[in-house]
């Protein structure tokens, strides 16, 4: 029997949602400060309006729904899924006010793409967008990469009860440290340390390529945020191709791979347990899947001879592949080149890479390496059960920080999430085909949206139908939250309609 949600449930959800909206309002102070520094008054006004709206709605919710009760699991999950929608709606306000987005829906598309670290864009005339708005596009990627709730937990909210429930709801089922607030802060520590190192490295290379110092470090910071948070936005419409620098590409590949690693692994490496990188199931699986998918892509590209030299194949083929596998979405080719210059075999390699993703508890989306590793190990265990005598006791273990014996419930959970992703990729592809796009192109774009990648073969344009825009927004949202929070929200609405008092 489904029970109708009580008013108390709605009040608790509203109260915590209000807190997160206030936190989001405060994050808009960063672009305001940058806008003032660059003397961009009009863009600053856009953000002042955005901040005010976020604070007004947030404070009203806090006032109306004030409660001292703790969140339940269901309420925590619903707060998370609604927070991401609220973030999209609020984050899109200053973007839309800039005039670079054709409609508010387009601005919402880019805001969700940013928060979900996808990287698909509908912005127009990006090359003339203000520093303030450009920074905001990358900052929302940084916030989304860490997790909107993580931001609230780390900086803006004190004495947050039920924090772990919201942390889990945001597809972070691993705690780096026993305390979830400390975990959130460690995630920020890693990100800030790499932000400084990455910005310096990229900024210096950009300067060597002739970009003026202030601009070079601005580009460095933006590209770092998009690379480490596996987002894929860039300050220029040509994306990473704009820089025409092999060294710049190498550095971004390193940052993308670092962003695809588990924060728990970062922690263990940073406290001296360096052998973990050789033993961990995720790093081993990532290494193998990158090479397998790249073999497919490289073989396809070599077959049609799109690139005349090994180095060009590496720069073009491997870059798009690693960008897809880590869920970043940086491109060093134009969208239509995927269709015009790549064959189907090479596209299949990139689609598989996008569908797999990086490590759990990282900033990537998609199925993820731990699940792939567990499924392979479970398959191995089942095969052994068939081959070995019936009396033999078959155990299978994997190394993830510590030795873990595979249990049926782990394999079941990994398979269910994988299945959910595959269904999501497939549904998006079918909807794409409904609008006349070929199967492989539709699957490419759909996988890119649902796995939060951002590579595009040209379907994502300002002129694409509203239904397709909404489909990709939903895919980005569900893919980033890994379904549980989304399913809980759907269940909550069903209970509100059909439930008994």
């Amino acid at each position: 029997m489904i029970l109708k949600p009580r008013l108390e449930d709605i009040k608790i959800i509203g109260y915590y949602l209000g807190k997160i909206m206030v936190a989001l309002g405060f994050t808009m102070l960063v672009p305001i400060a940058i806008g003032l520094a660059f003397g961009e008054i009009n863009p600053v006004l856009d953000f002042i309006i955005g901040t005010e709206i976020a604070l007004i709605f947030g404070l009203i919710l806090i006032k109306l729904c004030f409660t001292e009760k703790e969140l339940s699991w269901m309420q925590g999950m619903i707060v998370v899924s609604l927070s991401w929608i609220a973030a999209m709606l609020l984050g899109a306000i200053p973007l839309y006010l800039s005039g670079h987005w054709k409609s508010y829906l387009d601005a919402c598309f880019d805001a969700m793409s940013g928060f979900a670290t996808t990287g698909l864009v509908l912005v127009q005339d990006l090359d003339h967008l203000s520093y303030t708005h450009n920074l905001w596009r990358h900052l929302i990627m940084f916030i989304g990469g860490q997790g909107i709730v993580i931001v609230a937990l780390s900086f803006f909210v004190r004495g947050f009860s039920g924090a772990f429930k919201m942390y889990v709801g945001e597809a972070r089922d691993e705690r780096v440290m026993p305390n979830v607030i400390h975990t959130a802060r460690f995630i920020w520590l890693v990100s800030i340390v790499y932000l400084i190192l990455g910005t310096l490295a990229l900024g210096v290379v950009a300067m060597l390529n002739g970009i003026k110092p202030a601009n070079a470090f601005f580009h460095g910071a933006c590209i770092f945020m998009a690379a480490f948070d596996t987002g894929g936005f860039a300050p220029q419409s040509q994306n990473v191709l704009y820089y025409h620098s092999f060294l710049f590409e190498i550095i971004t590949v390193i940052i993308m791979i670092l962003g695809a690693l588990n924060f728990k692994l970062h922690y263990h490496l940073w406290v001296g347990n360096r052998r973990e990188i050789f033993k961990n199931i995720e790093t081993k699986t990532l290494f193998i899947t990158i090479l397998i998918t790249f073999c497919i892509t490289a073989f396809g590209l070599a077959q049609i001879g799109s690139y005349p030299k090994a180095l060009v194949l590496f720069r073009k083929g491997f870059y798009q592949l690693i960008s897809g596998h880590t869920g970043t979405g940086f491109m060093t080719i134009y969208s239509r080149q995927f269709i015009n210059e790549w064959n189907q075999f090479s596209l299949v390699g990139v689609i598989c890479a996008m569908a797999l993703g990086g490590a759990v508890c990282s900033t990537t989306g998609a199925i993820k390496m731990l699940r792939v590793g567990i499924i392979v190990k479970a398959l191995k265990q089942d095969l052994k059960r068939i081959i070995l005598p019936e009396r033999a006791i078959v155990v299978q273990k994997f190394h993830h920080i510590k030795e873990v014996f595979i249990e049926d419930k782990q394999a079941r959970s990994a398979l269910l999430i994988t299945l959910a992703y595959l269904v999501l990729y497939g549904l998006g592809a079918i909807i794409g085909m409904l609008f006349g796009h070929p199967f492989l192109d539709s699957l490419f774009e759909s996988t890119s949206a649902a796995a939060n990648v951002g590579l595009s073969c040209g379907i994502t344009t300002v002129d694409m139908p509203v239904t397709l825009k909404l489909t990709y927004i939903l895919q980005m949202w569900a893919g980033r939250l890994e379904f549980m929070s989304v399913f809980t929200l759907i269940g909550f609405f069903i209970a509100a309609i059909k439930g008994k008092k």
């Binding site: 690693l261 290494f287 490289a298």
Partner: protein
Amino acid sequence: MRVKSFVHVTLGITTEVLYALCIMLAAFLICAALYLNK
């Protein structure tokens, strides 16, 4: 365990970067192998 040693952090970052470079090297070898066969 706490992150308190600058040396550990530096070595940890180096290990991660080396891991990324290993992936790139392996990928480049695949490219080279494909073109050597041509």
